[in-house]
Symmetry: C2
Subunit: 504 residues, 2 copies
């Protein structure tokens, strides 16, 4: 063996690389042709079944035994994604449009007509895609002097616990404003391990193993828990499975990381219960995470026992992580099982102080996993990205744990009951939520109204609600109504809705 | 055009995909062979020049004109990285080792001997690589009852401004605990635009254009500004240039993102001035960012006018971003130029409240760039990762801007003078820092002592200092001494050092 041999082998490698790229080029030429035909025939560009077909065809093939299957899967996913991009390019070229923008833009929303007037009958047009767009549009209207009833956002209107108030006045004197351990103040993590145990006990379920504070990391909000977990576990070309309708954070993070999001849709008819065989069908060699969110935003659904058991079995069989976003744990009106009530170590629990203690702006969330090496990875990523969570905010969170958030649960449940009583009389269909703080209501077909039209109409009459299409592509005939506002305001809002849809 | 045609084309695509994967398989077989030969000949697995060779060979080739070059580059990078992984696997197999762990681990530091005693003469062994390891080891010793003088960390010992104290007591009552705009509270961004203008004015330099609050984003600490900027601008296979010795955040973030870090070393002999031709030599087609940090951590260096001019010219000529970490702006003892004093729009200023206002634990930093589209990208990434910075912390930062941090500058300068007076009499070499709050001191050669040995010795006698090797591979005969502690403690620490090195 000599260095000359290395040189010869390197030349072979270069040649092979060149051939690979020539074939990639050919593949993209075909993609262009397919794009043109699909545009002419008005077919959807993305076809999940064809994609999965390509993968299973390849991986049933013994020639690749020497290749790392994950690596191969990623390469194939990259080729597929580029093909889709090229087909879209072709479609837009033929349709005379510009290239579509890769990432969804949260365009700041502004009424198109100006200058503003206070004439209630003047109709503003909005560019709305999600609940955040509605929130921004509503804020703009308020700046113009309009009064808006906010039923679009998930920010509880309660005050944070009084313990937090007291702690804020002590922070300076106690000098609690330094760097902390990246994983978070130890007392806070200890407090959280009790807190989690208590939630399970309250719901009547056992924790599989004692919760070690060493397996908890405190993050700046639940969102960073998702971002961090995805960053730790996923690479471009990997895949996740989400169950829609869904809060779009998982989708957005996946998109950002070049990760494919495979969607399982659920329906009102099926009481928002996912079809397990559909989840199974989406699983392939690159599937790394199944994302769960129960009590669910936007439907309020809590998964039934049988479905949850089956999902855990599927995950176990395929070695897939279960990321369970349980930020609505305090707003369960039926017993709810946490992912930590299962004997499954590839599970990730995501929690937050935002909803439970009405502390959205403090930005304190946390991740717990029995998997110590995963938590260590998250700690490394957090150390890299932001050192640690602000100590004053951690201290406030620690003190909040001394309070009982049960009262918030009671109030929210009562509001949901009132809201549903009102909706009963209106042309909406819904199931009473098992948890959370929203009603996800379908607009009755005979109204012949899309979510965006209805959202716009309501906004022009002082009521902000979230469009269903922000939670998945199948839900453009839904709106999400939040109960994060005082009862009287909420009733006033529902009356305005009643008046408006009554006239339609 | 019919749907049957799509079906035929899809089959062609499958076949091509299969051929691609067969070639990929062949390529990895070659990688395995090369790995075996390199192991036998004891050659390095990674060879920068060969990598660049493959890329330039491919991209000089007209056959790929139809392929998106970024996409092709990523595919090639994936192939190269997988080859490296396979070569390493082969090497470890032949050497009888397990697969190497991909990411660097920051092993938590613990004294190896236990149980602990308070016997001052008992020598603990530490696993130390960076100032953070020293900090953790020192904290562990303190838990065991030892007294430690902390000269290893860059956390000012001052109190935050009294305005912050007052604001903390108002947060709850004023209900400043909600989600804010992702870019940060508008008043805070307005305040920062004045703050930045004032710093430039104080140093006697002009700002090229008025600082718009719309081009500022408030981040959870300066670190997230780096993480976010890198995420926005870099993809695996891209490159950055850093000037060492350096705070390791840029290196760590680059490493995490699969970005190559090319290093330009500076030396005490050259008064820490970088050699511009060396920077120029490192620039190639993949270079996206040059990272600057003046006043510098750890040397305290402020770049001279000529060097800075040349670096800006180099960046302009090659279309490279300049990321200027100016978190020590308040601790400049010589006039210092900010990157915003240049007429260059691919510049990024990174600032923080941590050092200037002694607010490390509040985790508030910011990024300003004239490049509005870059700031919009950062806003999107921050929205995705963490929604917004905690509102109470932003409110405190806003109030801090009403205070004058000049006093902190005066105290730190005086401490540096005292420290250097002491060091003069000791076997250390250094240049008096132009700024910041450290002395980066070289251990005189005749002591025949590495930084890690000295750090361990000092730690065992109650003084924590940072090892030079944490700031770059050429600096294992340096220690960094911080002036973030009261004068009397600092003098005590220096006396202990004096006693110890006197005995060597």
């Amino acid at each position: 063996m000599t260095i000359e041999e290395v040189s010869i082998l390197r030349n072979d490698m270069k040649e092979i690389t060149k051939q690979i790229m020539q074939l990639v080029n050919q593949r993209m030429e075909i993609a262009r042709k397919i794009g043109a035909i699909k545009t002419n025939l008005d077919l959807e560009i993305i076809d999940d079944k064809v994609e999965l077909g390509i993968k299973s065809y390849l991986f049933s093939n013994p020639e690749y035994l020497n290749l790392d299957p994950e690596f191969s899967g990623r390469i194939v996913n990259m080729l597929i994604n580029e093909s889709i991009r090229i087909q879209n390019l072709e479609k837009n070229k033929l349709n005379g449009k510009q290239e579509i923008i890769e990432h969804k833009t949260n365009s700041s929303v502004q009424p198109t007509k100006s200058p503003p007037t206070k004439d209630e009958h003047k109709i503003h047009k909005f560019e709305i895609k999600s609940h955040l767009d509605v929130f921004n549009a509503a804020k703009n209207l308020e700046l113009q002097g309009f009064k808006i009833i906010h039923m679009e956002v998930g920010e509880p209107d309660f005050l944070p616990p009084v313990e937090v108030k007291n702690e804020l006045t002590r922070i300076y004197e106690m000098r609690r404003f330094h760097y902390t351990q990246t994983a978070g103040i130890r007392d806070l993590r200890k407090g959280l391990s009790n807190h989690l145990a208590n939630i399970s006990a309250k719901n009547g379920f056992d924790i599989f193993e004692p919760i070690s504070p060493d397996k908890i990391i405190v993050t700046p909000g639940g969102r960073f828990g998702i971002f961090c977990s995805f960053s730790a576990l996923l690479r471009p070309g990997d895949e996740i499975i989400t169950i829609e309708p869904a809060w779009p954070a998982c989708f957005d993070c996946a998109n950002y990381l070049g990760v494919k999001n495979r969607v399982v849709k659920t329906s009102l008819e099926q009481n928002w219960e996912p079809d397990i065989s559909e989840i199974e069908n989406q699983i392939n060699i690159n599937t790394k995470i199944i994302c769960l969110n129960y009590p669910n935003n936007p439907t309020g659904k809590i998964l039934n026992k049988k479905s949850y058991d089956k999902i855990v079995e599927l995950a176990r069989k395929n070695g897939i992580y279960l990321l369970s976003d349980e930020v609505y744990s305090n707003y369960a009106y039926e017993p709810y099982r946490s992912v930590i009530n299962f004997d499954y170590d590839k599970s990730i629990l995501l929690g937050s102080f935002s909803k439970t203690f009405a502390m959205t702006g403090f930005r304190v969330g946390y991740v717990y996993s029995r998997n110590a090496s995963l938590i260590n990875k998250l700690i490394k990523i957090q150390a890299l990205a932001l050192t640690s969570v602000a100590e004053p905010m951690q201290s406030c969170a620690l003190l909040a744990l001394n309070s009982d958030p049960e009262r918030n649960n009671k109030i929210m449940k009562k509001r949901l009951e009132i809201m549903c009583e009102h909706l009963k009389k209106l042309p909406f269909e819904y199931v009473f939520p098992d948890g959370a703080m929203y009603v996800f209501a379908r607009i009755r077909r005979d109204l012949d109204l899309t979510d965006l039209k209805l959202v716009e109409l309501l906004l022009n009459h002082g009521v902000a609600v979230a469009p269903g299409s922000g939670f998945g592509s199948n839900y453009s005939n839904y709106i999400r109504l939040s109960t994060c506002l005082e009862e009287t305001k909420m009733i006033k809002g529902l009356e305005i809705i009643s008046d408006l849809v009554g006239k339609l």
